[in-house]
């Protein structure tokens, strides 16, 4: 388990410049490869989505016309909306629409799909960003406190508090917040629909409770990862060496601990940024927040292949870019991960 020499060499100040230029070329290679891979992944995802939604029971015509329309009428609706025929043909039709930027019409909402998706995307990004601003600093602070006090009462207490909090479903936390702040104190509206027309202050106001709810849901997991990463770094040999070398605590933390603690955390943040786009659906539904997650849930439940696939593509692009940024961040931060030629 001796990694001392390796670590010390990697972190020796003298080798910095060389490492840095090496990293830049690795980042460029990574970018080049991903530029090819991302469209391929998206292509596979679009096929998968289109095929999966086909398996959901029910049909759009029935959903639109209700239980009392005759089967013949439902069939006619499906035909007039281009929902019959082999799935390959419909997929290719969707694909050409999507690529040409002239997206189709949502069956559920009966409006063009593109403005719907982008309008909701902006709202979800705003919500996600707000939640992240609350979440990430808090998680970093709590997690590192825990790591420095690992096994102690503070650590245990924070673990119990955070896990208890995160084991309450989002929709219960959200309801409790609403009961206190919307019904009890009348500070914020229950439904965030006014958001769409409001100015920035109003946006912030209606997004506060959803963002807090969302942040609470992710806080425990993120704090946990920070704690593990930091604790691991603190017990590592290089840390002890650094202490022995007589570096000041602040230096040790900045140069060694932070970096090693951040690696797994950054991984998780990268994944969750993507997850957040679809994963805020429950919060959005509860608060009537016009976000993309809730929109896609409706599209999936009500069998709207056009809206669903369009939306999944957009969340896909964003999630993949977030992952790419994560991987670039990893290269820049951890000297031990080497993306050699032919890899990544």
């Amino acid at each position: 388990m001796s990694v001392l020499s390796d670590q010390a060499a990697a972190l020796a100040p003298g080798r910095r410049p060389g490492l840095w230029s090496g990293r830049r070329s690795r980042v460029l290679t990574l970018l080049g490869r991903r530029l090819i891979q991302i469209p391929v992944v998206l292509f596979v995802v679009s096929i998968l989505t289109f095929w999966l939604i086909e398996l959901v029971p029910g049909d759009p015509g029935r959903n639109a016309l209700g239980q009392y329309a005759t089967p013949a009428q439902v069939r006619a609706w499906d035909v007039s909306n281009g929902l019959t025929g082999p799935i390959t043909g419909r997929y290719l039709h969707w694909l050409s629409d999507f690529v040409s930027g002239n997206w189709g019409t949502s069956f559920v909402y009966q409006v063009p799909s593109r403005p719907l998706v982008f309008g909701h995307l902006v709202n979800t990004l705003f919500l996600g960003l707000f939640a992240f601003v609350l979440l990430v600093p808090l998680a970093l602070v709590l997690g590192s406190i825990q790591a420095y006090r690992e096994g102690g009462r503070t650590d245990r207490g924070i673990t119990i508090a955070l896990m208890s909090l995160s084991s309450v479903p989002e929709f219960v936390i959200g309801v409790l917040l609403l009961v206190v702040f919307a019904v009890g104190l009348n500070l914020v509206p229950v439904e965030s629909g006014a958001f769409a027309t409001g100015d920035f202050a109003q946006r912030l106001q209606v997004t506060t409770l959803p963002a807090v709810t969302l942040a609470v849901a992710y806080l425990a997991v993120l704090a946990r990862m920070v704690r593990t990463g930091t604790a691991g770094a603190l017990t590592a040999q290089f840390h002890r060496t650094a202490v022995l070398k007589g570096l000041r605590p602040a230096q040790i933390v900045r140069r060694h601990v932070a970096r090693n603690a951040l690696i797994p955390t950054l991984q998780l943040v990268g994944i969750y940024l993507g997850t957040l786009l679809g994963g805020s659906a429950v919060v959005e539904t509860l608060f009537n927040y016009p976000g993309l997650g809730a929109l896609l849930v409706v599209a999936a439940e009500r069998k709207d292949p056009v809206l669903l696939t369009d939306g999944v593509m957009i969340t896909g692009v964003i999630a993949l870019l977030a992952l790419l940024l994560t991987d670039i961040g990893l290269i820049l931060m951890d000297p031990r991960i080497r993306f050699e030629a032919g890899e990544s």
Binding site: P57, S167, F171, V172, A300, T315, A319, G342
Partner: protein, 286 residues
């Protein structure tokens, strides 16, 4: 699950220190209390039927507050909250435990393989995981559950598949960090087989990360069933599934809090206790 892996791996290698560690564990109050809580829920799941509890029958009183006759009160259909909370441990443990066991095994195996081989294996795996990361998990879950149903075995498989990529990514990162270390290089130079290096050298070294991921996904799996219930896709009424019960009764939060608070406490206690058991194990073993 992950706890079991730790125990098995170390028990084999060092039998005597094992007993010492057990004693050390039993001296930790958080461990003892948490283990008892986990045991309580496992016991409840296994034996509630033997005690003649009926989570479905109408006791004759609707929304009765907790008291002498009904320990934890009754819900809007007059059912005993006590009986329903105990019976709910059943599905929570089946879906939660087995789902996240599957996810952890699958995710760790893929993560270790990807991290060890790198090159095209890594690329292929990672892009494959991207597909599942890109499809927002919740949306994927909705579509899959709607298409294939929400039976307990189906949920276990779905949770396993949905959670595995996330775990694999993190394990891969941990493995990549280990790959530069001397012990791996040495083993490679000595001509040890890839399988042996992965099983004997890498897995034990990334085990703490695996254990953390496993315990975190247990919580996430139980919450996932609750989320599915929120969207009307989880367990079907009249099941006493905790997620379903919490979602069904949250509208009664202001008028009959007991029908939602007790199942919520049940979820919380199981999740937190599992976490603390894992924490203590990890600390004593390292």
């Amino acid at each position: 699950m992950a706890v079991a892996i730790t125990t098995a791996a170390s028990a084999e290698a060092r039998a005597r220190p094992g007993r010492r560690r057990l004693r050390a564990l039993l001296r930790r109050p958080t461990f003892v209390v948490s283990a008892l809580i986990v045991l309580w829920w496992v016991g409840a799941a296994a034996t509630w039927r033997l005690f003649g509890l009926n989570p479905y029958v109408n006791t004759g009183h609707i929304n009765l507050a907790p008291g002498w006759h009904q320990l934890l009160g009754t819900d809007s259909l007059g059912r005993s909250v006590f009986a329903r909370t105990l019976a709910g441990a059943d599905t929570a443990l089946l879906v939660g435990a087995f789902g996240c066991l599957l996810a952890t095994v699958l995710g760790s195996a893929l993560g270790v393989i990807a991290g060890y081989f790198r090159g095209w294996v890594d690329t292929a795996f990672m892009r494959l995981f991207d597909v599942l990361v890109v499809l927002p998990p919740l949306i994927f879950l909705i579509v899959v559950v709607e298409a294939f149903g929400a039976s307990v075995p189906a949920l276990i498989v779905i949770i396993g598949v949905v959670f595995a990529p996330g775990i694999a990514r993190i394990i891969r990162a941990a493995v990549l960090a280990e790959m530069g270390k001397k012990y791996v290089t040495t083993a490679k130079v000595q001509g040890e087989s890839a399988a042996r290096i992965m099983a004997r050298e890498l897995v034990p070294n990334v085990l703490p990360t695996i254990v953390i991921q496993a315990t975190l996904s247990l919580a996430a799996a139980i919450l996932m069933t609750a989320t599915l219930s929120f969207l009307g896709l989880g367990a079907q009424p009249p099941s006493p599934d905790w997620g379903l019960v919490i979602n069904e009764n949250r509208v009664y939060l202001e008028s009959a809090w007991w029908s939602v608070v007790f199942p919520a406490v049940a979820v919380g206690s199981l999740v937190v206790a599992t976490q603390l058991v894992a924490d203590n194990l990890k600390e004593v073993w390292s």
